[in-house]
Point group: C2
């Protein structure tokens, strides 16, 4: 689970050696728990501070003890650069995008952030406008590959009128919580519920499947720390791990094989006893990797049942049974394999790509009930599972991304927590990669 | 422009050496012009031959002197496997997908093809159906990575009622014309015009921008060979190359800087003189690679003008001027960089991602005029441009795909010719990568 190369490359001797040999020297990312994490300088807002997001950004900067500046200065190290490209409707107006970043891009501090704000391309008046706004994605993905390895670069399409709803998204992307997310386009649309004066997670009922270890455990720990009332669900075989989590954190546990015939009644009974769930996180997943010619029927079936059909049936039962509360959140853990495919994972990739389809279907349908549906797609995350991968393949997986390292389970948990936030009603139908901008894709 | 490693690895000594050293040994792909190209065995159609595409596939097989079989036999080497997954609406029915390929996948001949037919996910009755149909994409992309390096694997979503319109697409994918395309999902929808008894390209008026060399020249040559009446457009600096193409092939030439102030009137005058165009291929493109901090304003501007805004303006002028004929085709050359972003290409990636937005906008709007709008996104194609890339980077680009080699300009031209086919009215709004299933993406 430890990345010894990263550790070594950041020692004195290791730094000298990697430099002399021309080897990559990834910078350790700063997460929420790390010393010195957070905005390390002011936000520079372009063009000329003229943005519909100015009120939100000013508030966010102030919460971080920073200010928003609108004139670039060569003497300042900025914690973040934010460019509102909403006025880029043709090639001429898009020159402002070039001018701003051409000048400012080298002024971002280590661990800083770069954000481009756009309008949903399909809302533009003509083909050139749609092309430029859609083109921002190519721009941002390229800039994310050019930026230093600790700097995340993002594109946020904010629907007209959804500016206030963008606060949790901008806050997440400008914070160390998004350390391992980069190069992602994210849409913020009109929230599914009226903005309520709610705290992020405190007191919310959260169900985490596969919650006993790995990414699931990280999710449980994060939501507990945020004051949520968490139920960790896992299979009977994980009972001991669940019990010690419960003893340590005081979480509820639910021992259940979600593919069992009586899983749905048991889940509903539990949900009913708790007065329903605010947040359901479908994290439980299995792999049974084998090329298709060698794959056993049960390897095919179990992966699809655990990863796709059981959580879909759970979702349906909870929603139709009235056990998803208003302003609810359903979040699935998809995968880079579901996007790009992967050798030996026809079953897994089908199940994980399947969730992309399920999100697309469920998000607009459940919006009327005030529920959002989203997914995260992790790339290479350092867990017991990846620790078992042979060295050379593991090294390739770790280094083939813009951060030059694997992510941590907490990076996935932080991304889920942003989507789950009670104030994130404008984040709906999104599939966001947590992969350090892995080179892999489709 | 030659891939010496590929050539060497396929000699006797080279084959022994690469085997002994565990190096990749990519197979030379078979294109239309190569001896022995084409279906080398029968088509196996699953499940049990029960498919709405049976009539089309039977006709295609017969044209290739092959038959369609519906029962797998261990003794047959199939030229192609086709599985109609239209009945896969839940996990249970999707087991048929596993059973078919588990048994048959090793029976595909070298240079064979694997096709999965699906229904557009959003047309399914429920979330599980949409998830399974969308999940096919993960399945197909994984299988494409497992298949031998000469075998293309594809997913074709055929809208109900558009089965007859799928003929050109299935024909392309089952033929050597698609040698360097793999792992792509393609939608065939209701054609934009009534199916007409037209030949593919003969007699059609085709404009190819950037037509004097590289990919553009390959496009010109292919359309000329197909009997189209081609106009090759290029900048004044390419006049000599244009003249010799004209002398050799008898094509019309149009010497024009498409970004010049008088470009549109000149284009319209030419189009009017020819009675309008059936097919316009926006291939002209430039790169001015530099990290954003070092990029000059003119490097930003020229890339966006040549690659995006000039061809958009040309499209608008031709359509509004009535110079695009009914059953017309507009095809842009996008790029893998527009999908994934690329270091040093913020300008280029914006322009190429921009075309993805333009296709999305224009395809539904021009459908009512009987015109389709599509794009190809080439990956690593062996040209003078790629020959100039430093060796190590070039090698990485060449090998990091399921075919283990770079594509040829003709591979891009063939993909464009399929989209441009007068009978391809059901192919609209598509962006298809020509990249040998490059690992790179987003």
């Amino acid at each position: 689970m430890s990345d010894r190369y990263l550790d070594f490359a950041n020692t004195g001797v290791g730094g000298w050696l990697t430099g002399a040999l021309g080897l990559p020297r990834p910078a350790p990312l700063k997460r929420r728990a790390d010393a010195g994490a957070g905005l390390t300088g002011p936000l520079l807002l372009g063009p000329g501070g003229d943005s519909r997001l100015t009120p939100v950004l000013t508030r966010l900067a102030a919460e971080n003890g920073r200010e928003v500046q609108t004139e670039w200065s060569p003497d300042v190290r900025y914690g973040g650069l934010v460019f509102d490209a909403s006025a880029c409707v043709d090639a001429l107006s898009a020159q402002a995008l070039y001018r701003f970043f051409h000048q400012a891009v080298r002024s971002v501090a280590e661990h800083g952030r770069i954000l481009v704000i756009g309008l949903p391309p399909e809302t533009m008046a003509d083909a050139e406008g749609e092309a430029i706004q859609r083109g921002l994605e190519g721009f941002v993905r390229s800039l994310a590959k050019e930026a230093r390895r600790s700097i995340g670069v993002h594109l946020v399409y904010v629907e007209p009128g959804a500016e206030a709803a963008a606060e949790t998204t901008l806050s997440f992307l400008l914070s160390p919580r998004s350390a391992y997310v980069s190069g992602q386009p994210i849409l913020v649309s009109t929230p599914v519920t009226e903005a309520m004066d709610e705290t992020e997670h405190a007191g919310r009922r959260v169900l985490v499947t596969g919650g006993s270890r790995g990414i699931g455990e990280a999710i449980v720990r994060l939501f507990v720390a945020e004051g949520a009332r968490v139920t960790a669900l896992d299979v009977p075989g994980a009972q001991q791990a669940l019990a010690s989590l419960s003893a340590e954190l005081g979480v509820d546990v639910l021992t259940l094989d979600i593919t069992a015939p009586d899983a749905i009644p048991a889940l509903l009974a539990d949900a009913r006893a708790k007065g329903g769930y605010d947040v359901v996180i479908h994290n439980a997943g299995v792999t049974r990797d084998r090329t298709l010619a060698r794959m056993e029927p049960r390897e095919w079936d179990s992966v699809i049942a655990v990863n796709l059909t059981a959580p879909l049936a759970m979702t349906q039962a909870l929603v139709e049974g009235g056990e998803m509360r208003r302003n609810g959140r359903i979040i699935a853990v998809s995968s880079l394999s579901g996007i790009a495919g992967n050798m030996g994972q026809t079953n897994y990739a089908l199940s994980k790509a399947g969730w992309i389809g399920a999100v697309r279907r469920l998000a607009p349908r459940l919006a009327s009930q005030g529920i959002t549906v989203n997914a995260v797609a992790p790339g290479f995350i350092e867990t017991q599972m990846t620790a078992a991968i042979p060295f050379a393949i593991r090294e390739a997986g770790r280094r083939m991304n813009s951060m030059g390292q694997g992510g941590h389970p907490v990076d996935v948990a932080e991304t889920i927590a942003w989507m789950a936030d009670a104030r994130s009603g404008g984040v709906n139908g999104q599939v966001v990669r947590v992969c350090g901008q892995s080179l892999l894709g489709a």
